[in-house]
């Protein structure tokens, strides 16, 4: 379905690759704030878009993201000391501030001005809602800070986590925007013929292209109950947003109606950070911590499910602890955890990424086809010096996702107009 050269174009994200340059035009989540909790706390290693980096919170509380390797002898700065507004390499004492300037070079003669000529790559950071964002592209192209609705939700209404997934970023993203797999891969009660997704396993699908990506809907005809609509957003380059206002098993209102989503950020060509966010759809309803915790457990990333490094205990090394009896009698996959089910299917695809020339896509893969086309369009835009879609916050700041029932004959765009418009208002800056 996809030409070999286009597949590689989309999957590879190191510096200088077509898709790598696309990603380097957006602010992306880099680390959780909790990973560098306080000024001068220990620095951490990180890897994004194939680049080895270190992150630390300096004495002024600002988070720095720098090239991991000291420019002197390429020692890793993970071994350095985070001290007095900079990180000092423990090999020969060179010290760098958060802007990557070398501010001390104690093993050189004091009269030498060599330190002024040494600079370490540094990337700008911006911290919001427990996430440290970074921009890794050309300075002159740096866009405004992100303004997704969920970044405007107060901390009492919002929760975020991240998970390591051992596969190429594109198949992870494609799983997230694939509307029809949930009736199968995430069917956790195969006996229940009444759950919304089991009552109609081949929803009508619609994709509307927009300035930021596309919005799309899965429309399930539930006969006398009307249509059950799941309306999603795909925001370039790698964000999915979906509503969970209704309970999956019976369609009743959730006590804590939420909007959820993911952003996929390539670590390198064979692994990806999956960012998971949720926030209450109603500003009048704070997110209950216990509800939030139970949801994290249901999705397979509760406190007992995660190893150090944000990796899942259920992973390819133990076949995700699949239970064949459960698979035979209860759930489609026999694997616990909704997102763990995704990981099992995605992490065990061909390495380093699927040969998409051999795929047999069908009409239900509509959103996947549309996303690939948008990403290829973004590659062309960036190569020709233009801005890709989803760069400018004004194109997406008012959108949100939802799920709802509508009477038959009512178009979802009209019927859900209010439900798909942001309720957390823009923060006015003076």
């Amino acid at each position: 379905m996809l030409k070999k050269e286009d597949n590689e174009k989309l999957c590879l994200t190191n510096k200088g690759t077509p898709m790598g340059e696309v990603f380097r035009r957006y602010w992306v989540p880099a680390i959780l704030s909790e990973e560098v909790p306080k000024p001068d706390s220990p620095q951490i290693r990180l890897r994004i878009l194939g680049e080895d980096l270190v992150a630390f919170r300096d004495s002024e509380g600002k988070v720095a993201i720098l090239d991991a390797y000291c420019p002197h002898r390429r020692a890793h700065l993970f071994w350095g000391r985070n001290e007095e507004c900079g990180i000092r390499c423990t090999y020969h004492g060179w010290k760098f501030n958060r802007d990557g300037e070398c501010v001390d070079m104690p093993n050189e003669p004091s009269e030498s001005n060599f330190k002024q000529k040494v600079h370490l790559t540094s990337y700008p950071t911006w911290e919001k809602n427990g996430i440290v964002w970074t921009y890794m592209g050309p300075k002159e192209k740096q866009p405004s800070f992100p303004d997704y609705e969920w970044l405007r939700a107060p901390e009492t209404h919002f929760q975020v986590s991240k998970t390591y997934e051992g596969c190429n970023w594109l198949q992870a993203l494609e799983g997230g925007i694939d509307t029809s797999h949930s009736s199968f891969a995430h069917n956790n009660n195969i006996q229940d013929k009444n759950s919304l997704r089991n009552r109609a396993t081949n929803p009508k699908l619609e994709v509307d292209k927009t300035d930021y990506g596309f919005r799309y809907a899965g429309i399930r005809d539930l006969k006398d109950d009307g249509n059950y609509i799941r309306a999603y957003q795909f925001i370039m380059p790698s964000q999915q947003m979906r509503g969970q206002m209704l309970k999956w098993h019976d369609g009743s209102q959730e006590e804590y109606p939420t909007i959820r989503g993911h952003i996929w950020v390539p670590i390198d060509d064979e692994s990806v950070w999956v960012w998971n966010f949720k926030y209450t759809s109603e500003p009048s309803i704070p997110l209950d911590p216990e509800f939030s915790l139970q949801q994290e457990i249901a999705f397979g990333r509760g406190p007992d499910d995660v190893l150090p490094g944000y990796r899942l205990k259920r992973n390819p090394s133990n076949d995700y602890l699949i239970d064949r009896e459960v698979q035979r009698t209860k759930t489609f996959t026999g694997i616990e955890g909704i997102n763990t089910q995704d990981y099992a299917l995605q992490e065990t695809m061909e390495k380093p990424f699927p040969d998409r020339t051999k795929e047999r896509l069908g009409t239900a893969d509509l959103a996947i086809i549309a996303a690939r086309q948008l990403l290829l369009e973004a590659v062309r835009e960036v190569e020709s010096g233009k801005a890709p879609k989803g760069i400018h916050p004004e194109t997406y700041r008012d959108v949100r996702a939802c799920d709802a029932f509508l009477p038959k004959g009512v178009d979802w765009r009209k019927g859900l107009q209010e439900n798909m418009t942001a309720k957390y208002q823009l923060i006015k800056t003076i």
Partner: protein, 78 residues
Amino acid sequence: MALAEQLVIPDYLYGKSIAILGYSREGMEFAKMLRDHDISVVIGLRPVDDLWTEAERDGFHVKNLWDAVESADIIQVW
């Protein structure tokens, strides 16, 4: 009630180009309605699909799935 009588064209679709993937009875009826209202519509199918010739015989422009998605503002699967 006949199927065509149950179908409604949302205002949003006027002035847009639509691709309908597949050629189910409902999709076909809707595509005909769009055409009758001068809304640009193409049918998207796999090249091996037997319905390709049928859709063409009905006077529709038929493209493979990739090209149909690429050519349209709004894409539907009925």
